[in-house]
């Protein structure tokens, strides 16, 4: 049932930015830093979504996912690989034996400008190929035109097509204009059946930002209080350094707390972040600043 969108809280942008600034000023050091870095690593959806992707590229990425850095012990694997539907089968094959999930984008990613029939077919194909998770995009045009029922119904339909697969709903916050809209879109997605709400496709600027993430975490909090259901969250795009990832974790820690500090409820959509975290972990162990030459790029 589409929720009542008239009573949603409003957000003061400057106030949100100031709260975010407080999170960014936390200083994470020593053991707590290493803990945070490892947690962040375990939450990464290692991503390749390029027009020029090939089977070779995807295979290499999968190998990297399973062999992050041979010189480091006791590091977790990433949470998932995220690819286009045509590579789900290959990825599933390469990742056999690990517990790394295969997430596939679908629904005419990234624009979503296509018929429902096409989007359903896109989703079903990915699921049949073996996808564990589906990252869909909402129809931003309909949303901005106030067609909230349309947006809701579309998500519900895709959720059904997902079957056992988990559904992440990409709001494309960079196109939603205001924080109040981000809240509204989050609300629609959660009530329509999203398992995760996700900020961005990573194909436009701005991608994930801390203020929109804050609003989405706040939406998740209120949804839990109303329904008892935990929804996950995934910021994607622009999170390229450990420092930024840790700031997001601080925010997650202080807004939603311990039960969400887990890859089942929080993911980072990133590609170069993994290596930066590995470099930071090696620096923590050895005391020396690292060079990217010593970390495989796949």
């Amino acid at each position: 049932m589409i929720p009542n969108l008239n009573n949603l809280p409003s957000y003061d942008t400057l106030g949100v930015m100031e709260r975010v600034d407080r999170f960014c000023k936390r200083s994470i050091k020593n053991t707590s830093k290493v803990e945070g870095l490892k947690l962040a690593l375990s939450m990464i959806d290692l991503t390749t979504l390029e027009g020029k992707d090939t089977p070779g590229k995807v295979k290499q990425l999968c190998y990297k996912a399973m062999h992050l850095h041979e010189n480091l012990n006791n590091i977790p694997t990433v949470a998932a690989i995220c690819v286009y539907p045509t590579y789900v089968k290959i990825a599933k094959n390469e990742l056999k034996g690990s517990d790394i999930q295969v997430a596939s984008v679908a629904t005419a990613f990234p624009s979503g400008q296509s018929s429902l029939a096409t989007k359903l077919m896109d989703t079903k194909f990915a699921v049949e190929q073996g996808a564990d998770e589906i990252d869909m995009v909402i129809s931003r045009g309909e949303f901005l035109a106030g067609q909230y029922n349309f947006v809701f119904d579309e998500i519900a339909a895709i959720k059904e097509a997902c079957g056992e697969a988990h559904l992440k709903v990409i709001l494309e916050t960079g196109e939603l204009d205001t924080l109040d809209n981000v809240r509204k879109a989050s609300e629609i997605a959660m009530y329509a059946g999203a398992d995760f709400i996700k900020t961005s496709t990573g194909k436009i600027q701005p991608a994930a930002t801390m203020p929109v993430t804050y609003v989405m975490l706040d939406a998740i909090k209120d949804f839990y209080l109303k329904t008892g259901k935990m929804i996950g969250m995934k910021p994607a795009g622009g999170i390229s350094t450990s420092k930024i990832a840790l700031q997001y974790l601080v925010m997650l820690n202080e807004v939603l707390g311990e039960r969400w500090m887990d890859k089942n409820y929080f993911r980072f959509g990133a590609s170069s972040l993994a290596n930066d975290i590995l470099m930071q972990l090696v620096k923590s162990e050895t005391g020396f600043y690292q060079s990217s030459n010593y970390f495989s790029k796949d």
């Binding site: 709260r19 200083s27 994470i28 209080l225 974790l249």
Partner: protein
């Protein structure tokens, strides 16, 4: 619906290691003298007193106690320096003040660390708020020095003479900047007395004053307690007094100088009303409540210490507030992650604790999150009192600590009346999404500073000061020049 705060569903699990700001590069002498006439001189009676780190109660340094004779020397030095200083072109005067601003910026970290050590405020606040605001204040007023002919239509301003300035312990360096900058820019000379529990950053500022090359005697900084202050106020060659502190002492000063031609500005206490309407951005309003009363441990004259929340959203706001308070970190001021630092002195802690007892005795419902605090030092957890009214003492009297009194209201007229129902009039806050409501309230609230959808925001360009018993005169902005000039 589940209450956010009761069941601790959203408890933070990841605890942060201590992230202590380093103190290696910070130079604090064992003993400080008085800064008079461009030099550091020993006090005539040879008396000193200790200044203590309120987080550990350990002595950091000892500073000179200025006797009446020392005060006299300082005032005479300022008087002597006045002729040349006021005759200097505004352009050249401004350059000295720009230098002070730049020097503070260069030594910012050192100032921030000393401020936190001496006063107890979190390093995050001294580093990000106090010190930058202080540098900016000098920067702003430096620019006015050669532009005064534009500041007062149809009037030719000239300096008042020698200003005696007494500042409090809650924002030591910032208050020194608020006093010195406009006074110097307009051509006055100064004798400044910092608070006895927080003299160090003022004394470091004296080092900068010397380094800037400002002529001897233009700025004099003398340390001491109440008696030093009284001697300064009563000195016959002081032309103008600027005092920031308690309302009681402010009244005393006004009385003491009655009948003299001394000019006076006062910036005194407050019991600010912070008003949350049902149509506010509630999440940010809750953050605003926290910033209003827990910033700087509530040691803020303009703190939003009386919360008025519209009854229809009271449960929601209070619930969210409690949960937010649960994540505030009380502890070592030098830990970069500390949100609430040490209470400035044993004496102040006793005052706060006594009010907390009064609040309980009066029947207020108290809420304090469980906080882990260090064994040594002066600590007070963030505190709420619910179900209180305008008739409770803790709602009427300034506590000057992290203690918030919460009342509900139903209509706009009701809250305006209650907000104004106080002898104080320094600040107020209004939280609502509706523009017309903002303007209606800002027009009706009797306070010198009204914050809409924000709180505790300060800027060198923005005039600050009170109505009624919160004092008179403004600091900051164009209006902040007025106390330091006279017109032919």
């Amino acid at each position: 619906m589940t209450k956010i705060s009761d069941k601790n569903i959203f408890t933070a699990s990841w605890s942060y290691d201590k992230a202590l700001e380093s103190t290696d590069h910070v130079y604090i002498k064992d003993q400080y003298e008085l800064f008079v006439n461009g030099d550091f001189i020993k006090p005539v009676e040879g008396k000193y007193f200790n200044t203590v780190n309120p987080a550990t109660n350990k002595v950091i340094s000892r500073v000179a106690e200025a006797s009446a004779a020392d005060v006299d020397m300082a005032v005479m030095a300022a008087k002597k320096a006045f002729k040349k200083w006021s005759a200097l072109s505004g352009k050249e005067r401004g350059k000295y003040i720009f230098r002070i601003a730049r020097l503070i910026q260069e030594r910012a970290k050192e100032f921030a660390v000393i401020e936190s050590l001496d006063g107890g405020k979190p390093i995050r606040e001294s580093r990000d708020i106090d010190i930058p605001l202080a540098a900016n204040h000098f920067f702003y007023y430096a620019g006015w020095a050669d532009k005064l002919s534009y500041a007062f239509p149809n009037r030719k301003p000239s300096p008042v003479g020698v200003a005696g300035q007494i500042i409090p312990w809650n924002f030591p360096l910032l208050m020194a900047a608020w006093k010195l900058a406009p006074a110097l820019a307009t051509g006055n000379t100064v004798v400044l007395k910092p608070a006895e529990t927080t003299p160090l950053t003022a004394l470091k500022l004296a080092e900068i004053i010397k380094e800037s090359g400002i002529p001897d005697g233009v700025v004099n900084i003398i340390t001491g307690a109440g008696q030093t202050g009284a001697a300064l106020v009563e000195h016959p060659y002081i032309d103008k007094i600027a005092f920031t502190g308690s309302t009681a002492v402010g009244k005393f000063i006004k009385n003491a100088i009655a009948g003299t031609s001394k000019r006076l500005t006062l910036e005194l206490g407050g019991k600010g009303a912070n008003i949350i309407f049902e149509d506010a951005a509630i999440d940010q309003a809750v953050e605003g409540i926290v910033n209003a009363i827990f910033f700087n441990q509530g040691h803020v004259c303009c703190a939003g210490s009386r919360l008025f929340v519209q009854e229809s959203v009271a449960d929601l706001v209070i619930d969210k507030l409690k949960q937010r308070m649960n994540s505030l970190m009380v502890g070592d001021p030098l830990d970069k992650n500390t949100d609430i630092g040490a209470i400035n002195s044993k004496k102040q802690l006793e005052t706060i604790e006594s009010y907390i007892r009064i609040g309980k005795d009066e029947g207020g419902e108290i809420y304090q999150p469980k906080c882990k605090v260090p064994k040594e030092g002066n600590w007070c957890p963030p505190t709420l009192f619910l179900n209180v009214s305008q008739s409770h003492r803790i709602v009427q009297e300034e506590i000057f600590g992290p203690v918030l009194a919460i009342q509900t209201f139903r209509t706009i007229d009701e809250v305006i009346e209650k907000a104004n129902n106080t002898p104080f009039g320094l600040s107020a806050g209004v939280w609502t999404d509706k523009g017309a409501k903002i303007f209606h309230l800002t027009q009706k609230l009797n306070a010198g500073v009204v914050w809409a959808n924000t709180f505790n925001k300060f800027d060198a360009t923005s005039p600050f000061g009170g109505y009624k018993e919160s004092g008179f005169g403004r600091e900051g902005g164009l209006h902040g020049l007025k106390p330091y000039v006279k017109f032919d």
